[in-house]
Amino acid sequence: MPILECRELSKRFGRTTALDRVSLSIEPGRVIGLLGPNGSGKTTLIKLANGLLTPSEGEILIDGEAPGPHSKAIVSYLSDKEYLPEWMTPKQLMDFFQDFYADFDRARAEEMLARLGLDPAQKVKQMSKGTREKVQLILVMSRRAKLYLLDEPIGGVDPATRDYILDTIIRNYNPEAAVVISTHLIADVEPVLDEVLFIQNGQILLQSSVDSIREEKGMSVDQYFREVFRC
């Protein structure tokens, strides 16, 4: 059974159509790049999968069910927003995640915090933007979820941390889990991807394995993306 499935999924904001009759299916055990230019519908699709938006038409299913408490227990979501309460510390946040998510691996989170030299007692409001993003990512990747939805996980961090994050995604790879990474930085994520979804103007242009693109088009995903989305 697909871990994420969209059937004729549409989302409109007033007169603007953010997603237009999208149908797709994502199987467990894959790392998928959700790639598209700004405003193409990537974040809308991820928000719909998290139940943060409701579809205008069609349906979206996570593990066979519409987004709800069941899907939220198995989806680990990294937003492109800074959403951690400013008064909390990483230690309190780990307590919080441990309370609500049965799949939260605290030892893994503590190990990642230590490896990145982050202070578990520092308040979020005292952290730099980059540090906040690292803490968010550590919390999200410390869950043993079935589906990871990562919206721009490497957008605001330095290249060294970027490498660490991608390494973390690969190291935490679980054959039963799927990872969806939405990003503009295709060259950076390409080495970890199994599959790509090209999205433009709310429509899926392509769903293909990375190997197929390389074999059939004779170019990297980054090169192919630049060709498809040439301005």
């Binding site: 998290n50 309370d99 609500f100």
Partner: protein, 277 residues
Amino acid sequence: MLGKLLKQEFRATGRIMLPVFGALLILSVFANFSIRFLDSSMSDSAVLRILAVIVLIFFGFAVFGAMIVTLWLMVSRFYRNLLKDEGYLMHTLPVSVHGLVWSKLLVSLVWFIATGLLILAIVSLTALIQSGTNLSELFAQLPSWAEIKALLSAHGIHSGDITIFFTELIALILLGSIAGCLHFYAAMAMGHMFSKDKILLSIVFFVALSFVLSLATNLLGFRLHDLAALTVEKGELEMLIFYERRLLRFSLGAALLQGALLYFATTLSLRRGLNLS
């Protein structure tokens, strides 16, 4: 999961409310010292007298401020935690929208009650001290429960009626507070279903809900005036009791109905119209 949400909500709000309560208690001690000082023969120094008055003014502001903070916290926790960026965290927890709303409601209710009781206790004690009343003398002057019962039964009121009255009154205070919170929650949740002008729309929904609810309550409550007119021929106290009992029960029913409608509007808006952006 509601227990975990309540724990988190108490942790988030306690870090604000407990210092407020602490400050209120400390200021009340200083206020009582100031009252005693102003009353005593040592109060010849104009500077000290001014200082004592300033402390009393601060105490007055603190009492008012504690009520404002409690109300502000109820609104801001819902807004910041569920409708702004923190909503990305809260709405992706494996909990239902009902759990999220109830955790906010119950914790706000606890802080309302705690603030109310604390202010009542502090202000009563301060007033007693200011009036120079001796507490043991005051209690000695109060009529005993047996005397109150005898007085009431002379007017046909039994102790069971008193129990019912106070139960209904407490229920009305609790239900009224919940409906009051939900009035803010529903307006904010409805206003945030839209992509633009969310705060302005929340205010518009708040005013619109106030208008609709007060209109409906007045229309439904119109019959109470007829009931009052019909009871004119009865004795004054009996009429008052008759009227009050119906008014109280009507208010209870109205608060329950308003609360249910506002709860439905809040949860439906969050489930169907959540628009975090």
